[in-house]
């Protein structure tokens, strides 16, 4: 019995974190492109940087002032060079500017090297080790989603993991040191509705991770090659992470962490607007109920869920009818 109680308490604690994670604040993005070392890679990496920044700016409505790009060859004045010095400066700024309800999304694009003892992301000029990256992130009060999409990224999982952090690495072993296709798949995941597994019109970091992993696996399968990258996600803070196909505690926070903002009710018609507000409230109630599912009696959960979902279905139908008429 004592064991059961402690498990329930742990779950409740995790759910508390998850619930708080869904709170909205400012959203910051830092994209770091390192040294490519090769014209072909330079072209590929730059294309990924451009596609990712455009996606986050245009689809996810990240404010341009909060979308910080550090590139191997900056294209304009807004971009900076991907040097250690500039990385330090950006994180120093974020440490001062962000608050605890904000979200900072960091994505590294390029090459990684090293092993457990000294893993590095290859910057332009001197590199930073995973431990140094962690030191730079520490003063930032905001929640952090850190994606290292490179080869040899696995050691970053343990180095960066911690409370209020979601860490994704493209690889899950020290031997996975070959160039990755993860970034391309990740960008596709942010763009396609297919990644939206829960059909709420938004793509959570967990959904993006899951879809990316499936695309990467398919890539190697279709090429008839052994996969040299398997992405892992950690949001429990223990630095162990899990594969998309595995089960475990990791993912509970990422499932409710989004890079876009909640769409505010947009209808001008007051009745429709009221319905949209009700729809949003019901959705939040259902999300809250789903988070509590593990600690509820199944029959109670199902009864409450059915009641709420029928109500949501009716309201959503009315919203659709009204908005389609208005359109």
């Amino acid at each position: 019995m004592r064991r059961l109680v402690s498990v329930l308490l742990l779950l409740a604690a995790a759910l508390g974190v998850a619930a708080s994670a869904s709170a909205e604040g400012n959203r910051y993005v830092v994209i770091v492109q390192g040294a490519s070392g090769d014209p072909e890679y330079a072209k590929t990496h730059r294309a990924w940087v451009d596609a990712l920044s455009a996606t986050l700016r245009d689809r996810f409505r990240i404010e341009p002032s909060k979308l910080l790009v550090l590139a191997e060859q900056p294209k304009n004045e807004q971009e900076q060079r991907g040097t250690a010095e500039n990385v330090r400066a950006v994180f120093t700024r974020l440490a001062k500017e962000t608050k605890d309800q904000d979200l900072v999304f960091v994505m590294l694009i390029g090459h990684g090297t090293g092993d457990a003892a000294a893993a590095k992301f290859n910057l332009v000029g001197p590199d930073l080790t995973s431990e140094e990256w962690n030191s730079l992130l520490k003063p930032i009060p905001a929640r952090i989603a850190f994606v290292d999409s490179t080869s040899s990224s696995f050691p970053f999982l343990a180095a960066i993991a911690g409370p209020n952090r979601i860490v994704i690495t493209a690889t899950n072993g020290y031997a996975q040191k070959y160039h990755t296709v993860f970034p391309d798949a990740f960008i596709q995941a942010l763009l396609t509705p297919e990644a939206d597994a829960d059909k709420n019109g938004r793509i959570s970091l967990l959904e993006a991770f899951t879809y990316t992993s499936a695309l990467v696996a398919r890539h190697y399968e279709q090429a008839n090659r052994l996969a040299t990258e398997n992405a892992v996600l950690d949001d429990s803070g223990d630095g162990k992470g899990r594969l998309a196909t595995a089960t475990g505690d990791d993912g509970a926070i990422a499932a409710f962490t989004y890079l876009d903002a909640v769409a505010a009710p947009t209808a001008t018609d007051p009745e429709t607007r009221a319905l949209q507000i009700k729809q949003q409230a019901l959705t939040e109630q259902i999300d809250d109920l789903r988070r509590r599912k593990a600690v509820m009696a199944p029959a109670l959960f199902e009864a409450e869920f059915e009641k709420l979902i029928v109500e949501l279905a009716l309201v959503s139908r009315d919203v659709r009818r009204r908005t389609s008429k208005q359109n």
Partner: protein, 845 residues
């Protein structure tokens, strides 16, 4: 009846090499080694060894002469007894050996006497004599290990014998190496056996037991090598009794009873009254359906060795060869009753019981076999497979009992059961016959499990399925890469065997049952069973087809099997042309009544075998001669990148497939897509049945895609898939090209259906196919697809449950529909489609 694909049989080639090396080495082996003719210094043991060498070479008169020259009286008696034993003069041998054993109970005389007593059913006495020899643990030479090994084998301490033989791996002796090889052969390790026989022959190229062992070891994988070994043995010792036993076994395998009898007669005249010869008489009697002769043979075995079940075992083996597994099980059971400690008899029993589907009793027999001989890999293999089968999900449908791996059952049952039911209805109507059930169908996701279930050993790379009459075993689609085979064609093929085997009372010749099964594949789906049309036509043009009379032999040679299957199916098609399905039914009934080919053909078709041979020749000529001519070698050799040369050759030989393909392929490679079309189209006309990405249709599709003509690309792929039915890559390409393009729905449906059939574990395809069926309001078929997708772990769980919920709602299964929709909404509360279906279910639209 095993269905095979065209996987290369590397084993045969390597074993062929092994034999040729063995014989060459044997011929060149120098004198002076043990087992050679040149005598060692004339000690008594050397003299006795000379006698053994002469016997090993089958030179009995020389052995007798040498025995007479042994210096001491005791040595002479032992040597003479060895010759007596070879000739089956057991009483004479015993009289010489017993006095020697009284003087020395731990020597070779004791060993030979113990083995003799064991062979004559005096087991307690033999065991008392052999036990001390098998307990010796002081070893001074390979002879000591060899003596221990033979004694251990005599008292059935097989593991001990194997351990002792391990110590003799480097012994430079033909007799020891040949015995090691024989042990490996008995332990179902023919590869290891070949190595030792090869070593033996290296020491003495005329060592008959090594040549005979080699022939047995190579029999399945390298018949030519086996034949060469037999020829060598025949040349050196034509009257050797063990050679005659081997010839009799082979004759029985070839259903040539007179030849078997002749060989046994020769064996008996060379060695009087030995149990192997008597036991094979039981097999002959069974083959002749002569109960009195069978009883007599069993009685003879009993007279020689009252404790031997070998007669029953040999009769059982013959029954197995004839696919009469119930008889085989009965005989094996009798063997176990006579010889209650014979692991081989219990293994035979277990294997036969598995083949008739009694897996519970089979397990008991195999466990007994394993307990008696824990070194038997075949017994362990079968027990391991039975353990795995125990974890399978059992699905019963009418007379069918399917056993699927648990994680594949949900998908496979949705596809396999309707297909099996269709087969049942089709074959029952066509053959007017209801087979005895239940029909057990076991599907293995590991090919080696299928192979072990079939033959007791891993391997059987070329086989996809097997039928034992009431039991069908086969590879799951997951056992091989998608596109390697059509598991549905395999199931159809094997189920056809159920009818032909049972209807003919298991007397149908192999060419006919395989021919009917392949022909039935073709009738079910025109592309099935026609995979070998091109090699057949090419062979026909070179005079390499078999015809009616040579077809049975073609089934006995691994290298000709694929074409034999194909030609047999053509022959069946031709027979149906002659006298319809009624002719086939009559033919099967005639075989069931025990008719031979001549009578059976006369009854079924009113024609002689020669008449059918002639009309069949005309039939294949009419159908394949033109294709065969097109597949002839090109008129000249031209380098693959010599475009002017290829152009000139194609112009010179417009009717030559290789010339047209050579040019078309080179032009595609050079990027001249417009130029490539004409030769590729010509090649496609010449050989419409060509398959693969490099086929004319495959390349024409590629050309069309590269030039943006997607409609044409789809047309080409459709034509390719019409003959290349397992080409899942082409099917996926067709599906991708069809996409949501207007006017491409038929191509999309066709491709999706094919992909789902070939690769039923592709969840996304099931979803797409299900949605196409929903669009056509085909609710029940759509449900099958959606359920398959859900079982596989679909890309999106909410969508998968919504698909199922929606279709169930359409089918009026509201409660189940609601359950699925609520699961979907738990995954995706905002999912509008699921919400709408929920409201529809609740009547609140």
């Amino acid at each position: 009846m095993k269905r095979r694909n065209r996987v290369a049989r590397l084993g045969a080639a390597s074993l062929a090499l092994a034999l040729s090396v063995a014989i060459v080495e044997g011929q060149s082996a120098g004198p002076g080694r043990a087992g050679q003719a040149k005598p060692e210094p004339v000690t008594e043991s050397a003299q006795i060894q000379q006698v053994r060498v002469a016997l090993g070479r089958g030179q009995v008169a020389e052995a007798r002469r040498l025995a007479d020259t042994v210096n001491s009286s005791a040595g002479k008696d032992l040597a003479s007894a060895l010759v007596d034993l070879f000739e089956g003069k057991d009483d004479a041998a015993r009289a010489k050996l017993e006095p020697l054993v009284r003087v020395n109970a731990g020597g070779d005389a004791a060993l030979e006497l113990g083995l003799l007593e064991m062979r004559r059913g005096q087991r307690p006495q033999a065991a008392r004599r052999l036990d001390p020899l098998a307990s010796v643990r002081k070893f001074g030479s390979p002879d000591d290990y060899y003596r221990l090994a033979r004694a251990a084998e005599g008292i059935r301490e097989y593991q001990l014998a194997a351990d002792a033989y391990t110590e003799t791996a480097s012994a430079p002796r033909a007799d020891i190496q040949a015995s090691r090889g024989t042990m490996f052969l008995l332990r179902n390790r023919p590869g290891d056996a070949v190595e030792d026989f090869q070593k033996a022959l290296g020491f003495d190229a005329g060592w008959i037991p090594a040549l005979l062992g080699m022939a047995r070891a190579l029999a399945d994988e390298n018949p030519e090598g086996a034949k060469a070994a037999i020829e060598e043995a025949t040349k050196r010792a034509p009257n050797h009794p063990d050679l005659q036993i081997l010839l009799a076994e082979r004759a029985l395998g070839a259903e040539d009873i007179p030849a078997a009898i002749a060989a046994l007669d020769k064996a008996a005249s060379a060695r009087a009254g030995f149990v192997e010869e008597a036991a094979l008489r039981a097999a002959v009697a069974y083959g002749q359906k002569d109960q009195a002769a069978l009883d007599a043979a069993i009685a003879r075995v009993k007279a020689i060795d009252p404790m031997s079940g070998l007669g029953w075992r040999r009769a059982g083996e013959q029954a197995q060869r004839a696919y009469r597994f119930a008889d085989a099980a009965d005989f094996a059971r009798r063997a176990t009753a006579v010889d209650v400690d014979d692991p081989y008899a219990f293994f035979d029993l277990g294997e036969s019981l598995m083949r008739i589907g009694d897996e519970k009793a089979a397990r008991a027999a195999l466990e007994r076999s394993w307990n008696l001989d824990t070194s038997s890999r075949v017994a362990k293999n079968l027990l391991d497979v039975l353990d795995r089968i125990d974890t399978f999900e059992v699905v019963t449908s009418g007379d069918f009992v399917f056993k699927f791996p648990k994680d594949e059952a949900a998908v496979l049952r949705t596809y396999a059961i309707p297909l099996a039911e269709e087969a049942r209805k089709t074959f029952a109507a066509r053959y007017g016959f209801t087979p005895e059930g239940p029909i057990l169908v076991e599907v293995f996701q590991k090919h080696d499990d299928f192979a072990v279930r079939t033959m007791g050993l891993a391997g059987l790379e070329g086989a996809l399925g097997a039928c034992f009459g009431k039991v069908v075993v086969m590879d799951s689609p997951s056992a091989r890469e998608p596109g390697e085979f059509s598991w549905q064609a395999t199931l159809w093929h094997e189920l056809a065997h159920v009818y032909t085997l049972q209807m003919s009372k298991y007397r149908v010749p192999r060419w006919l049952t395989e021919g009917i099964s392949v022909y039935e594949e073709h009738r079910r789906q025109p592309a099935w069973g026609r995979e070998d049309a091109l090699p057949f036509a090419a062979g026909l043009a070179r005079g390499r087809n078999f015809g009616v009379k040579k077809l049975p032999d073609a089934f006995k040679r691994p290298e000709s099997l694929a074409l034999a299957y194909f030609e047999a199916s053509l022959l069946v098609e031709h027979l149906v042309e002659i006298n319809g399905e009624a002719g086939l039914r009559t033919l099967l009934a005639a075989y069931a009544d025990g008719a031979k080919d001549t009578d059976a053909f006369a009854k079924a078709f009113g024609k002689s075998v020669d008449d059918v041979e002639a009309s069949f020749k005309a039939f294949v000529e009419q159908r394949y001669a033109a294709l065969g001519r097109a597949l002839a070698d090109p008129p000249a050799r031209v380098a693959a990148d010599d475009l002017p040369g290829l152009r000139a050759r194609a112009a010179q030989a417009p009717g030559n497939f290789a010339s047209q393909m050579g040019l078309g392929t080179a032009l595609v490679k050079a990027g001249d897509y417009a130029g490539a079309r004409a030769p590729l189209e010509r090649a496609a006309e010449l050989a419409p049945a060509a398959t693969g990405a490099g086929s004319p249709r495959g390349l024409l599709a590629e050309v069309a895609e590269r030039t943006g003509d997607f409609d044409r690309a789809r047309r080409e792929l459709r034509q390719l898939l019409a003959v290349d039915h397992a080409n899942v890559v082409a099917a996926r390409k067709l599906a991708a090209l069809a996409g949501d393009a207007p006017g491409a729905a038929d191509d999309r449906d066709y491709a999706l259906r094919l992909i789902a059939d070939l690769d039923p574990f592709d969840a996304a395809t099931h979803v797409q196919l299900g949605r196409r069926l929903v669009a056509k309001s085909s609710w029940q078929p759509a449900l099958v697809e959606f359920q398959a997708a859900l079982a596989l772990g679909p890309p999106n769980l909410a969508e998968a449950h919504t698909d199922i919920g929606e279709v169930m709602f359409r089918l009026g299964r509201k409660e189940e529909a609601k359950r699925h929709i609520l699961i979907a909404l738990q995954e995706a509360p905002s999912y509008a489609r699921a919400q709408d279906v929920l409201l529809a279910i609740l009547g609140r639209e």
